[in-house]
């Protein structure tokens, strides 16, 4: 968990979960029955969940003083 690139990816995924990068629209098209920006946000959240699970599986320290 000490690898900076892991936290940069988390930061990028959380940034993508907030729709700051999309154009303003009062009439957003629907994807899967929801406004498209909601689906994009949920996809970013799904990516966060998958990346978290993968990171834990790959880099979680397995052995059991805990000081920095």
């Amino acid at each position: 968990m000490n690898r900076p690139w892991i936290w940069l990816i988390f930061l990028a995924l959380f940034a993508l979960s907030v729709p700051w990068y999309l154009p303003k629209s009062d009439q957003p098209p629907l994807w899967l029955g929801l406004p498209y920006w909601v689906v994009l946000s949920l996809l970013a959240c799904l990516a966060i969940a998958i990346f978290t699970a993968w990171t834990i599986g790959r880099y979680w320290p397995g052995n059991d003083d805990g000081l920095p």
Binding site: S25, Q27, L30, P35, G62, D64, L67, P68
Partner: protein, 484 residues
């Protein structure tokens, strides 16, 4: 609430409550020794599934089921932010949980204060952090008791008054908790978590087709309340990011959740539980968001606090559809009651451990053994519950405003765990100065009526000041005495 439980539904609730007490008796029977670790951490023997469900049931309180649909109704689709902020809690755990668990295992930690005392070697900082935990969590427990009383009163159509609901369920929690400790709490959390998931899944299965499908509902919102479907911009985006930070960091500091990190049977068990836990917002917060959105075409004119009635009103409408729908509504409402109880029992157990081990064990009971401290902890549970029930029953005292301070206060302990686990340069004095600064800023702004400044939560502003003080007063390469 316009749904009242009939005899069948009340029998279901009674069976559920009896089962909770039976679990407490069983957990007591299986307890090997009367030690603090055995009582408060289930002997650090929680397996993957039990740990996952107890973390889940503890993190998702009654507020998530009763308050969040109202937020979705008020804000519209932007409440999808709730999925992200509940995931952020698990991501924050990755930054310190492995180090915390290792230290806990090797130095027999029981309370969050044990880590602070070990890492910073400062009794003053430990006491200050424990004060923050106690104030925040007493308010949190009080909020659960109030929600419990109101829900029971509504479900019984007023035949069980508010005071009787608070008193009766409070005693049920106390009985299974003082009998079985964390083992009983974790096992009951499993039942409570499963009830919640089953209830939410069942309701969506009934409700989405009944409302004409998601596209139909979304189209209605775009036509009639376009601001609730529009791409968020400006202040709402700032609040979205601020909420991610506040909940992600603040909810990761719940003492009862930190103690579950200690209670895992192994490092791999904790890792596997968190791997599943990170997906839970998709199966919990997403259905809650959709319930709030589906209420928009059906219920009009709910403003401000009244929007918190969205979930009960919608369930009342769905319960009339068919006997199966009624059964699913009963399941979900029992699950909601269970969510409140599972949060209340965990918070009470955590408070009891902090008071008995960190406060009494360091003063009046300094020379007492584990058995005496565990006994004292059980008495503390009963006394604390009695005081909070009395406050909950007194209508002249309202602490709802203080309850909102919970996350604002808890987030000020973030540097002690996240920075403490990662950076040896953070010493006790800078950490204490940062904690005091953060608490003064966050509590001061909140109590002065500035819960948000330019869309940013008072707790996040407090945390920023806290971090600046911590870093400014630290020597970058200072090594703590424990390391030397």
């Amino acid at each position: 609430m316009n749904i009242i439980f009939g005899p069948g539904a009340l029998t279901f609730v009674a069976v559920y409550l009896t089962a909770m007490v039976a679990v407490g008796v069983l957990a007591k029977h299986l307890r090997r020794r009367e030690t603090l670790k055995e009582f408060y951490l289930a002997g650090s023997g929680l397996g993957t599934l039990v740990l996952l469900l107890t973390l889940y049931a503890t993190q998702y309180s009654g507020n998530a089921l009763l308050g969040y649909p109202g937020e979705a109704y008020r804000l519209g689709f932007a409440w999808v932010m709730s999925v992200g902020f509940m995931m952020a809690v698990v991501v924050v755990y990755l930054s310190f949980a492995p180090e915390l668990r290792r230290a806990a295992l090797n130095h027999a930690f029981v309370t969050p204060g044990d880590w602070i005392r070990y890492r910073f070697e400062s009794e003053g900082l430990t006491v200050a952090a424990n004060c923050v935990f106690l104030v925040a969590m007493c308010n949190y427990l009080l909020a659960q008791l109030l929600a419990m009383g109101h829900l029971v009163e509504a479900l019984s159509g007023g035949s069980v008054p508010f005071w009787a609901g608070v008193l009766f369920l409070g005693v049920v929690i106390l009985v299974y908790e003082t009998l079985g400790g964390l083992k009983a709490v974790a096992w009951t959390d499993c039942a409570q978590g499963l009830l919640l998931i089953a209830g939410l899944a069942g309701i969506l299965w009934i409700a989405v087709p009944e409302s004409g499908g998601l596209a139909h509902t979304s189209q209605w919102v775009i036509q009639n309340q376009p601001e609730k479907a529009a791409v968020p911009s400006g202040a709402l985006l700032v609040t979205w990011v601020s909420t991610l930070v506040l909940v992600g960091f603040g909810a990761a500091m719940y003492p009862q959740a930190l103690q579950r990190i200690y209670a895992a049977s192994s490092s791999r068990t904790l890792a596997r539980s968190l791997q599943w836990m990170v997906f839970m917002p998709l199966v919990t917060m997403l259905p809650v968001l959709l319930i709030g959105i589906m209420a928009l075409p059906r219920i009009s004119g709910l403003e401000g606090v009244a929007a918190d009635q969205v979930m009960p009103l919608m369930l009342g409408q769905w319960a009339d559809l068919s006997p199966l729908a009624y059964a699913l509504v009963v399941l979900l409402l029992t699950g909601t009651l269970a969510a409140i109880m599972s949060t209340a029992d965990s918070v009470l157990l955590s408070l009891s451990s902090i008071i008995s081990k960190d406060l009494l064990g360091r003063s009046w009971l300094r020379n007492a053994g584990d058995e005496a401290l565990t006994r004292a902890g059980k008495r503390v549970s009963w006394l604390l519950m009695a005081v909070l029930v009395l406050i909950a029953l007194n209508p002249r005292i309202s602490l709802w405003g203080l309850a909102e301070l919970k996350l604002e206060l808890l987030s000020q302990t973030v540097p002690l765990f996240v920075l403490g686990a990662r950076w040896s340069g953070l010493g006790a004095r800078p950490a204490l100065a940062g904690l005091v600064t953060g608490v003064v800023v966050a509590a001061g702004l909140s109590l002065a009526g500035y819960g948000k400044v330019a869309g940013v939560h008072a707790g996040v502003i407090g945390l920023a000041f806290n971090l600046v003080v911590c870093i400014a007063l630290s020597r970058p390469f200072r090594v703590s005495r424990a390391l030397e």
